[in-house]
Symmetry: D2
Subunit: 119 residues, 4 copies
Amino acid sequence: MAELPTRVQEACFEVGIKFGSLYHQFAGTPVSVASAESLERAMAESIENQPHCRDVEVSIDREAVRNASDRTHGYAELTGTMLDCRIEVSVGDVRAVAELEAIEDYPEMRITELETGTS
Amino acid sequence: MAELPTRVQEACFEVGIKFGSLYHQFAGTPVSVASAESLERAMAESIENQPHCRDVEVSIDREAVRNASDRTHGYAELTGTMLDCRIEVSVGDVRAVAELEAIEDYPEMRITELETGTS
Amino acid sequence: MAELPTRVQEACFEVGIKFGSLYHQFAGTPVSVASAESLERAMAESIENQPHCRDVEVSIDREAVRNASDRTHGYAELTGTMLDCRIEVSVGDVRAVAELEAIEDYPEMRITELETGTS
Amino acid sequence: MAELPTRVQEACFEVGIKFGSLYHQFAGTPVSVASAESLERAMAESIENQPHCRDVEVSIDREAVRNASDRTHGYAELTGTMLDCRIEVSVGDVRAVAELEAIEDYPEMRITELETGTS
């Protein structure tokens, strides 16, 4: 590349990496209403370890878990349609936020905030 | 198979499934000394959802995490050499326990208890 | 354990490990009718690396992939209901085979052959 | 966000998602020199299914696999230090390329091309 990516572009890239990581590390994990809380916390804390990551919020929809649970065994495997996530990264003075939301059964991930600080 | 597997054989099979699941679901997860506890709990609670599973104990070796951590970024990715696990299943009146222990950098999994109840 | 597990019990344990590994390593992988073949091959060849593993056969149901595919994006994420697998292990002169089959949307894994050789 | 992200920003985000997905879906997969080729192909073809993804090239370093392989069992688990990847996405007329390269044992991912077409 003739020029280096700008910090805004890097921040968009970094928040994308975090989303892909979160999703594909944990998709398929056995989850029940009872175990959803510990999974939410582990997902958030593990991704917060990654470079530039400031904050991760993960919410697993209990109703969606219940509906997807197998009758006999009482649990489901984590999919994107059960997830609501918000990830915030910063690169230099740029802050980027992206969110995952299930839209018609497809987990859409999109950038929702991009801010260049005055610090 | 001419005959069905015995309950003891089924219990050995089931505890094997749990180990493979635990390991390959979570290997590669970003982990630091600070986030190890939430990951231990999520690993145990998620696998406990699986059929026949009675108890899962997961311990992540903080020293191993620290040693494996990248200097710049301060975290590692979970591997078998950081893990100490014990999984207990029951099939009918048979109880099987297996454990994972790192032996010369290879995570060995083996059956450590097999018991047929008198209930 | 007072006594070591028998080779039959170990073979049951080992084939269980392989199933859990296969399933939780690859569940959630993006898959389409066009990419199913390379995924089948990689799943089989990767698990065949594991100790005691003699043969792994993986078949991804194209019709199930098509039905699960998101309309807009044309692909699905791999789940147990798309999978048909057969795994063979041997421990000493014992051969164990297990199979995965989706029963009412739950991927049931069970031992289908257990044989002690006369070699 | 007051304004929508630009196509360039979206392209940076999308290529980031693909990298995080590729890495965390497949990290931990059992791999040997013999099975590396099928894994490379499955990794590339599965991620190419994702929205906006034009091309994925994955190369697994055979020497690194050999060095990381356990002596007794002859295979390793896939980590970032064995991987060389290039992913290309397009969003509208914007093309973004990112690459993964192991730098001092840490898998660095960075944007290497960003181009706005004249189509």
